[in-house]
Symmetry: D3
Subunit: 315 residues, 6 copies
């Protein structure tokens, strides 16, 4: 399993370090306690059962703990499950670190920051540029480490910045092909559209929804914050309203969380570019795990479709 758990097949042997993402206690039909572990490495996750655990085991095998494990990939109710044959807690001498076990964007933080800076540098409208700069400054660290979502697409370290930077690249080309598009507005909209997630999601490693995220959601929170920031910067033109509209409408429809649909050209194009980048991210990662002639697993966020990799594609 040199490739990592995300690429393993039923029957593969496993002998490697992994990170415990989640551990839940249960009681087996023989009355003895067991742990259901969710284990992960940098390529994916798998479930495993640890049978007949002692009280001490329950205090050792806990989330964010690294373990050394050998076993075999089996199937249970149609899903892969790791059968544990041997397990121990990782030692300081093993020289392993949590950061090895979390998925990261395929682009380095420094490069992501550089691309963001370039985009801001290209902008000519001073109001938009100042607002965008203020946000980047305020949230720089989180912006460069947060995932773009807790699951589905760009759900890895630096996923949010990776998503923004890919969208900016697309926007640049769209602007070349349709020069009527206001590039400054589109760039600003892309950089800001999902920053509300920094408050909606709880963090980088174990990403959950905050209370605020559940009760308001990232869109209204970000609309509000653009207002606050503009006020502090004493910016008052229509740029503020239009940027708020781009953020507000970027999910495209009321039933998808945007109380107003896009009513400005760049709001519409922002919504479409967001769709393309999110979908390409999901598709490329899923298709990389299957061979030509096969279908991917069901992709929940793409209407539960399974995608086919044609025979004429290189593996």
């Amino acid at each position: 399993m040199a490739k990592g758990i995300g690429y393993s097949n039923i029957g593969d042997s496993v002998d490697d370090f992994m990170l415990i993402k989640d551990a839940t206690r249960g009681v087996a039909s023989n009355g003895k306690p067991f742990l259901t572990l969710i284990l992960r490495d940098a390529t994916g996750e798998i479930e495993a059962k640890l049978w007949d655990v002692s009280k001490e085991d329950e205090t050792l095998y806990i989330p964010e703990q690294i373990i050394k494990l050998n076993g075999e990939v089996n199937q249970f109710r149609g899903k892969p499950q790791l059968k544990i044959m041997g397990i121990r807690i990782a030692q300081a001498t093993d020289g392993v670190q949590i950061s090895q076990f979390v998925e990261k964007a395929p682009v380095a933080k420094s490069e992501l920051m550089e691309k963001l800076t370039e985009a801001v540098f290209e902008m000519k409208n001073p109001a938009m540029q100042r607002i965008v700069r203020a946000f980047i400054k305020k949230y720089q660290e989180a912006l460069l480490t947060y995932p773009a979502a807790s699951k589905n697409h760009h759900e890895y370290v630096s996923g949010l910045a990776h998503h923004i930077v890919s969208m900016l690249a697309l926007a640049k080309e769209v602007h070349k092909l349709y020069p009527d598009v206001n590039k400054d507005l589109l760039y600003a909209g892309i950089i800001l559209h999902d920053l509300g997630k920094l408050k909606e999601l709880s963090g980088v490693v174990t990403t959950k929804y905050t209370i605020e995220g559940k009760l308001l959601g990232h869109i209204p929170m970000m609309v509000e914050e653009i207002g606050h920031v503009a006020k502090e910067l004493q910016i008052e033109g229509e740029e503020v309203l239009i940027l708020q509209h781009l953020v507000l409408s970027h999910h495209g429809k009321a039933e998808w969380g945007s109380p107003k649909p896009p009513l400005v050209r760049e709001a519409e194009i922002l919504h479409l570019i967001d769709l393309i980048d999110a979908k390409m991210n999901m598709l490329n990662r899923s298709l990389s795990k299957v061979k030509p002639g096969e279908f991917t697993e069901r992709l929940f966020a793409m209407d539960n479709r399974q995608f086919y990799k044609p025979l004429f594609e290189d593996e």
Copy 2:
């Protein structure tokens, strides 16, 4: 037609002062210009055609002008139309004023203000009370004169305050029957829920949507403003978030404009009380215009239903 145009029947004669709400120029099939007038008094509106108008007429018969008119109520394409037999511009000596021709809440401004004050006075939670007080102070004049909507329900002068005060009365009783309900929270939610309309709508007499209203809508605007006001007042507890949630969710569903559905008990009850008061307002006004044994006109905001007035109701 002593009762006013809202209560007139086909065939009624009209000889009265009315206000021009809207005037559009057209060209008749004989090539001569004419004006399509929307006329109103305190009870309702009617369309009228003024044929063969001169250039001067076009400058006289304009919106917000009062006229004296005689004619007859006819029917055109299934809707009432006023056939104009005589028309003239009202004179200073006629002693009529615009305020006579606009519909007003059946409760005086002073009484509405008093009820609002009472409700605020009953509140015990200092954070909520201070926020509500700040809003009432900031918007007092507009709050007491704006309609609650440009059409459908409480679409008259002081309609917004009338809607709020009626909802507060309902809330008081609901709290008595279900004492677990947090009265302070419910009161605060009721007072704030629609204040975003003060920015969404353009004014009291000719009520239209502002650009901001069209691009953001009253709900996100108000969520933002609660945040600003709380910041200025240096209020930081969960009360701010929960109030924002009540405003955000008061339309009940994403497809009705609330990106989050009610997720707090008082948010749910606020949504239901809002529905009751809006529907009772529409129903009572429509039913007052028909006789027992008749159906009302179609009510657009109530799924286009026509309501029946049973024979055993007094007229």
Copy 3:
């Protein structure tokens, strides 16, 4: 676990009497039979497994049997499950009775009857009053003991009457605030609207749907019965039709089981009051089981939402 099973937490010890609501035989992976028991007390239900049962056990542990049990509340597939450590059949000498283990309305039957009688007494329209009286007389015992539903809201002994009496209280206040509302009609509609459930549901303790209930539903059955009763009482005015309409339309929409939507003012208000009382019942009971800062479990009948109890609420 002084509070009862509905308030227990994972890890709690249990040592108490409970009622078997349901028992299903299964065969474990070791080939031995076991029983899946649904156990209840007056506060709620929990699942338990009884392993390695004998033929005799299968005849002892059956529905409506009271047992004495000790064990521990565990979690299985995300739901609480009671781990049984000791179990025995309750004896006559234990002095426990089935009525102790079923949930009951928080108001006594006598008080519910009194409130109903008061409401009927307030009615002035003789046709409506006579019809309502006839129904109360015909079904008095069942009306005072049936639940309002087999699950979701007021699903306890006397739930139907509790629901009716709460709605009458709301109606009284609504009538005060909107005096155009016909109180007699609204009262009569409230008392009759769900009486069809007395035939739709099979009984008080193990509430299931009757064949008639499945093939016709409580609404058309009740519309029919109002017709029968009015015929017997030789009542012929429009009151009969309008009462049938109120019952027919009280679910609000065709897709919710009302072939006609409310087309009379009191039908609309009846629908809304029904919604409020059902929702307040669900919300208050769910929220009473969580602490400030927590979310309730998912409420299926409220679009599967989880509700938040703000930090500023007293526990």
Copy 4:
């Protein structure tokens, strides 16, 4: 225009007797009153304008009056309109009668009655047979003259009986092909399913909805009446409930007016046979008015589709 108005083309001359179905007064742009007439003969309807009418004209040209008219078929806003060149009231000496101007089923009443009687005679289940007989006896005259609907399908004199008899013929064949189907139940369901329309619709010539029809609808009214009739006949078996279910569910879905979907085999097949006969009636009548290679007008009750008549069909 030997074929009748339903078969006329733009440009055709008209010189014939017609029946006024509806007459509405309007005022033209020159200030003079005019009448919008809906005229019909046995094949269809057309709109016409009668300009510059006198007060006397308004009392002469009224609904249910026969007129003699010459004119030309024109087009107005995409729909045919009859341009009136000459018009007069029909005289006794003209020898024309209202019955000549209304559409009738293509089968005589006597034959329809005979087929109904045959079907009842074939039934073997005494409970169903007695109930059906009682309804036929109670409503014989109306049953043989009413339309099946106010528009869309079988909207002509004896349309209801024609619809029932066609469905019975289909049912007979369906039973032969699928002998498990209970023929008695299916026959009874077909005969009863739409009888509620005798109370829902106001009459044969100018068919409108009654108050009762608007507030309850033909389905719940008929469910109730089956209950009454069965009680009078002292029939108590499950046949009554199942017949009520067939009537209740024959629209197939809650959103189409059936609070319960078909849950008995014959209820499902009744729903499908109803669909087939209604659709064949609409399609055959529309297609008979177009030539091969043409599309019909839009058929509202068939999702607004236009149907194509292939070139290989005989005209």
Copy 5:
């Protein structure tokens, strides 16, 4: 269990030959491998667990293998499960064959072929007749053995031909009752409408979807093939287009897989006859497995309804 597994009840003993339809390896909580078998005979399927299997067992108990088994029908998570007490591989001397364990149409292939031939013989339009003959010739063997679907209706050997022949019988009667219907067109549409399934499904015994079937579906594949066949036969009239339309539209609505709804009379009637035959097939088979007074299991393809068998039906 003389009747077969499809008619067995919980608690029945089983001592019979069965066919393994599917076998999946799992690992039990005690760490030992087991097989989940799907077993079938000519009347239905059941799941069974084979515990503690050896490596050799895993190579013996595989799909399409016949076994001899004794055991008992139990219930597991609400569904029947066969508890295996003894099992062995069938021997040549047992004299059993796969064809005994698959469900077959209740009509012999020869008779189905005869009915098809008769229908083609009745057709008079040479273009349609030649196209239909060409398809029957090209696919005769598959057409007579394929199921009509992989599940839901006519999902047995010769199911497709059985479905076609039943529909032809219905069509014959519909044509008699509504003689305007073009019988040749309707017959041709019925014979061709589902032939695309011969390419969409992988085969007769283990019926799966082909890649082509998943990416295009049987409807567009068949539209294309009618074009190819007509080209080869050098047929060019409108018959080809209309036949393609009948196939294209036979699912009735875009969301059910027909990009165009029926726009020709016979396309509409084809859709309805298809519905009737599919539903009668599902209903009759499900109802044959329950007693009067009972409901069937949920029928997924009929909106998940459970159907009731009235008490007055013979068992």
Copy 6:
């Protein structure tokens, strides 16, 4: 009105040549015939009434006739209408031609052909390249002149080729940003996806739907034709199936006319690129007609939205 009718405002004078697109006869309330003309130039269309026409006029003012006209732009029922003051038939000596009055793509045919050729030249997969070449050869003339639709987007001469070429440009950039995308497949899909419109639409100037277009639609027609062409070219690999899938699924959802949703990565991206180019075309053309601070007219194909042009945009 130097800019053309598409850019005119209410009140503008018009004195120019225009093309009659449509002419319908009506009869005015004074009994005299008139013509409703739809007039166009290269920038847009407008309705006009020609009153009191003679028999000769009716033969002169017909579709595809060029006229010289002076008049004024008025408003009628909220839409612009041209008031005709003078009109005459264009003469040979006027030197005007139909091609001057139809909207054309902003890119010359030769350039469009060049870009298409370049794209084909870039393709490396021989099967796809040969199929695409065959189609371009077969339809070259029509492909370069047809509109992409009869209305909504690219509804002008060479609109289809313009749409294809814009999409190719977008695809090129998308491939650069997401190199996993199969460029050959995406290019081939883009070139072929809408070619079925060459048979679905009747022609370039007066674009209507053909019978074939109405009964099958461009998608199934094109799927079929790819099959035919591949057969003729004796190409048999999976490329044919996948290309057919791209065409079949390019509308994205069953309810939008694609019986299968995109199930191959390039099918998904083709659908998204199609959306972007169609929407940018509609938006840019509509926004070019309004000033900063204004909203466009309602765009039917974009959910009837009106788009706002921010104040900071250059006019």
